[in-house]
Amino acid sequence: MKRYLGRQVVQLVVVIFGISVLSFSILHVIGDPIVLLVPEGAPKEDHERFRKLLGLDQPIYVQYWKFASRAIQGDFGKSWYGDAPVFRLVMDRMPPTIYLTFAGLLVALLIALPLGILAALKRHSIVDNLCTALAVGGQAMPIFWLGIMLIILFAVRLRLLPASGYGTWQHFLMPAFTLGAFLAPITMRLVRSGVIEVMNMEFIKTARAKGLGERTVVIKHAFRNACIPVITVLGLQFGQLLGGAIVTETVFAWPGVATLTVESIRNQDFPVVQGAVVLLAMIIVVVNLVVDTIVGLIDPRIRVSA
């Protein structure tokens, strides 16, 4: 058990290191922040002066070391507009994003679990075909389109829900549903195939042979075991979820990290972009670690084989 956790933590550190190197190199190696800072047509000396000022004249690994050592202490620099510290800016906007992500996940599960199980149990029936059709259709639907249509229907025409913003549970409904609808199709198919595979396994046949009722077989044995691959893949999906969250937040003017990142990119405010990317990635990695650990706890086979 300890070994398993230990391995996971090592993996976490390696991955976080990799992410920080990745995002650092993107910003400093691929691009040249100086070009964007200095006025067009400015003489070469200005470029050099800025470079010295921002410490960009030092070798890359020195710059990285400075960045990393400061980052560990929570100092991700300051925004280029307004001087607010990046860490505070990003973390202030983190809760709405986290809440939205969980809400979306919840909605996706609420839709996908029952439908997926139903489809799996009644394979090749009309219900199954309908569910699959819904899934394929849902996957093709552009998420921003759905969001915009929901706003027009529920806010503008029906006046039932607020059109944008954050604060009450009514503000959560449409964004959560949009994000959930984005994730639900894939989740449903995963659940379906997970349940199908499990239903065909030996221990189910044994359970049936023992004379247990179909209901018990399904709920107690099949479902529990199907959850493992579902949870694993759901954890991996967290990254995908973020893609959906970015667009959802933009459509609903949700005050989260995603809108902050997009705004900062539009404003070419690099410290904020870098900070947001690294912090978000770290959170995702931690979530993945937690999911892996939970799965490892539930299914000892994974612990041993990893």
């Binding site: 607010a84 944008s164 404003n267």
Partner: protein
Amino acid sequence: MTRFRHAFLALLGCLALMTAAPVEAQTKGDTLVYVFQSDVDTWDSPNSVQRTAIILGYNVYNHLAERDLKTMQVGPSLATSWKAIDDTTWEVTLRKGVKFHDGSPFSARDVKATFDRVLDPAKKLTARGNHAKIKSVEVVDDHTVRFKTDGPYPLFAERLTALVMQSEKVINEKGHDWMQEHPVGTGPYKLVKWTRKQEHLLVRNDDYWGPKPAFKYVRVRIIPDTATAIAELISGGVDIIKAVPPDQMDVINKSGDARTTVSPILRTSMLQLDQAGRTGPNPFQDLAVDAAAIIKHVLNGLGDRVATAVNPMAFGFDPSIKPYTQDIPRAKKLLAEAGFPNGLDFRFRTTIGTVEPGVGQTNEAIIADLAKAGLRAQQSFIGESVAYNSQVKEGKAGPMFNWSWGYYSIFDADAILYDVYKCGEPYSYYCNKALDDLIHAGRTALDPKKRAEIYAKAQRLLFDDTAYIYKWGLRGVWGVSNRINYEGPRDEIDRFYLVTFRK
């Protein structure tokens, strides 16, 4: 099964957490909701060029004088009267019994501290250029101030409406950085909370010396996307939105819950060209853009074509100069003569329409027109006003960028010529000594007839030299909820304290 029960409970817990997310304390009945598309960078009004900062400042601070929207005349506010003692001295009498939000009394020393701070070249505050003609401020007694000007200053009274009065105690004890986020004014509203890029919450100042505002709270929400702002207005989520694109006006007016109000405003828009480094005669003529057609079709007629950046409502406007009309063949010929027979590619910077209605669509039309003459503009879009203004201020917005100027709501040609054309000013991309001389002369002459002549000469110069590509004087378009009474202000300053309920 217990493990799953735990997981399920955890999920439920998350749901509960979400419901516990902050719920508004104010009710709909006592809160006015107002929308900006872009947030301010600071609450320290003299330190910002943003119209949004001017508007917020007007509601939380007071000025020495205030413009009456019905008569458009300058009247008393914190100052009850003023008179010119001689050509270069003005004496101002202050209102008694006024208190700042922190309880300290307002007096002449606060006036002096505010002006000293703004006029100090070392502090580099944005408003310095506006008030540069004031040489010094003396405290005569608690309620009397004497201003000494650098030569005759005809705009003295007008400019009293353009500087908020801040507390000497705050300036000295709290310092510049603190003042960026904590406004301590004498105005009808106080700032309760500022959540950057999201919203400001203001509460009524119950000790205000003037008439009490009808709404107890004001929520200033930041909604960058026009579609969302309009949806919020129609669905009753917000009360006032600005800069509505003219082609969306019918949506609001037909909704039954909101209406639009239009007013000509001082704001004039133009395409600024990076001309400061230019030597020699200007081969430019503004021939490519069919501005009249754009105003008619894209803005549905809501714009007043101008020949230079001076607005028809400003003193000194010269109606005799006729603006260019579109002439593509001639434009192409000029371009070829200048050495670009195959046209020219360049960057065109733009931003969102926080103050300019329909700017996205008009810019697209302009780009298309320019392309017809071989001028291929690559649009470079910056999504936030503050970031955009920073780039402009730091000289990085060339070679061409979309710009508009609100004159700080001073109805005089000087209010645009100095900041946008004078050599060396942070927002000016043009440099012409002859013009600078005219600006200086206009600031100093006391006789209105003489000033009008000077400004006519200045406009002729700007037109012949094609300093920038001029567009039009804007019409402000506001979207207003039917539960309130509100008219679009001609000076482009939204006064929250004047909004009342509609019966």
